[in-house]
Amino acid sequence: MGKLKYDYNVIVIGGGAAGTVAAEVVARAGGKVALIEQETLGGSVPMKSDIPIGALMTAAHALDDAHRASAFGLRTQTIGCNFPSLQNWKDLAIKRSGVQATADHLKTVGVETFHGRAHFLSPNEISIGRRHLTAEKFVVATGAKPLIPNVAGLDEADFLTSETAIDLIKPPKTLLIVGAGATGAQLAEFFSIFGTKVYLVDAKKRILPRFDEEVSELFQSLFEKVRGMEVLTSSRVIGVQKNGISTTVTYLNGETENRINVEKVLFATGLKPNTDLGLENAGVEYNQNGVVVDEFLQTSARNIWAAGNVLGRFGDAHTAVYDGKIAARNLLNQTKTPVDYGTMPWVLRLNPEIAVVGASEADLIKNAVKYRSIVVQNSVIARANTANFAVGFTKILKSHRGTLLGATIVCPGAGEMINELTLAIKCGINVAHIADTPHPFGSWGEIVRLACAKL
Amino acid sequence: MTEILGLWLPLAVAALVQVSFALGVSMLTLLSGSVLSNKESAHRLRELSFAYIFGSFAATLTGIITIMYCLFQFPYANHDRWWSVLCGITVGAGAVVIMFYYRPGKKTGTQLWLPRRAAEFLCERTKKTTECFEAFILGVASVVLELLFIAAPLIIAANLIINVEFEWQPLTIFSYVFVTILPLVILAICNRRGKKISTFQRWREKNKKFLQISAGTLLIILGLYLFVYKVWGV
């Protein structure tokens, strides 16, 4: 990188998954890099989302599996849970994620870290407190925080978010979760396993709207019949009111107004990108959905790139890492790489797990792409029998030429199984080749081969 | 018919072009807003608006009469070469208006070509105006500052008016100058009737591109038209 007329070649704002990766890539290329983080290095992934929720879901599923194990002749009726110990387990998982060591690692690769809130003063200058730093280029990777909708009464009533709900030291007796997307569904399942009566409310017509309809139908049925939840779709929360130790939630279902009294209310209504850092001063265009970038993750300010959840795409940690790498590479090189999310898998840790990759059926219909699809229930494979777990399916979408376009797996271990299909999409592999590839008998993976074969 | 095509039509076009230039209107808008924010009476607003409009009127009138006087002394005022030069300048001015009159960018309101420091000074000066004399000088300044753009239509108008019969010249001059200050008069009337400044300003911002392109295009067409009419004699 060239001779410096600024303090740094690159300043990365945000020390989460995207920011740390971007900083490391630039530092390894020989640039003088600074990384600014307001809270804890590592960002929300190890502290507030993937790691803690993953750890808690593991514990919840272990309890769930234990309860089901009575069918195998095991005496599991007395299995219970010490909820505060669950918090210890969660904290251990966070500690073991290595977030503490991030700062040391960054120092080793030559990234200078600053703690504080960065604020743009001009396209090449930021302030952190009263300190001013300048750089030739910037990467904005400030992530996102829980979005709280504009509901009457929230000023006075207590409510939980996905970040505060995981810190509870005892499960509430009743819980109303607003938002039946990925996070809402996960937390709903978690609390219901630990005995909470959960009301899952969403304004949309189905839960888990980002997935295909079959997924929504299956999980709505599971939540209602197995978990004992009340799922209220097409319902919009219009008010909350504190009532002593409980909260009264008012919601609209069509024209009908209803009220529920619950102990706690949790808002899982999505994320709001953290764009309050003076982006106007830098000439960076943004809106309520996040920072506006082109396919190379470059913003409207030619010297500023953006990566991760601040873009409003809200993927997993690996999406943020991918973004960080692309943004860093593009700001270093003349020839630029466009982002391609077509082969980005997405996993949701419910029981059973959901994993998707590629295009959804709705996308293909919207883009008028010719396709063929098949849905095969897990019950057809041997593993469903031996594991006594037949819930779930695999859906494959293929093009008229036979290449894989998209896949949804609902199955224990779906997060591991999806990698094969991700590779297939990335390499343009024909579905017939997957069907011809031996998959071990008695494994969950067999469902993938069977689904491809039936197509 | 010859008179209409050779005199009144280009004169009307020149007046229309001059009307669409924005500095005078912007300054009066700011002045009005400043007077209202200082909680001055409606009478005071009227006085200052009138002083400002009178300043613009006087400056434009002085300008056109001065040019006419110079042209009377100039032996080649109706010569082909002189018209060629004038038409060239007009076409050039049209191109400059289309390219530079308003500042480019999405959130620039009705910012003009003026250097930012000059614009800021003018803005501060306008806000501090409390006396009629100051408002009058501001009116004069608004015309002087835009001479770069209004010179072409003004010279063309003067060059056309010197060919009008002597007894009709004063009326023609006053009519021309009145048309050029018409937007100011309309703004002052709207203010008097209690219209909000923001309504007018929104309209200006929404239509600035249209006004810019039409002013520039009209200038180019005027230049070409006069070249064909006066120089080629078609």
């Binding site: 407190g129 003076g278 | 500095l23 807003g33 209202l36 909000k196 400044i197 923001s198």
Partner: protein
């Protein structure tokens, strides 16, 4: 204290912000009482937005104020945002 960086550097003052909002509202013929009420509400929200920021620019303070003011009086908010863009 939050510093406001503009042509000159000044400390943020809620009183000055209140007056600037009220002034622009008055220039747009908003009744005095209404202008004062809007200015009070907007200043409260702006102070929430400023939070613990140590430095902001005058331009972004203007933009943010206009955005908040737009919920109360869109016409005045437009004028507030474009006051320095008339010419």
């Amino acid at each position: 204290m939050t510093r406001v960086m503009g042509k000159t550097e000044t400390e943020y003052s809620s009183e000055r912000l209140h007056q600037s909002i009220a002034r622009v509202a008055a220039s747009n013929r908003t009744p005095l009482g209404t202008a004062e009420h809007f200015a009070r509400e907007v200043v409260k929200k702006i102070e929430n937005w400023i939070g613990n920021k140590s430095e902001i620019t005058a331009a972004e303070l203007r933009l943010q104020t206009a955005a908040v003011l737009a919920d109360y009086d869109p016409e005045t908010a437009y004028l507030y945002e474009n006051e320095d863009k008339l010419f």
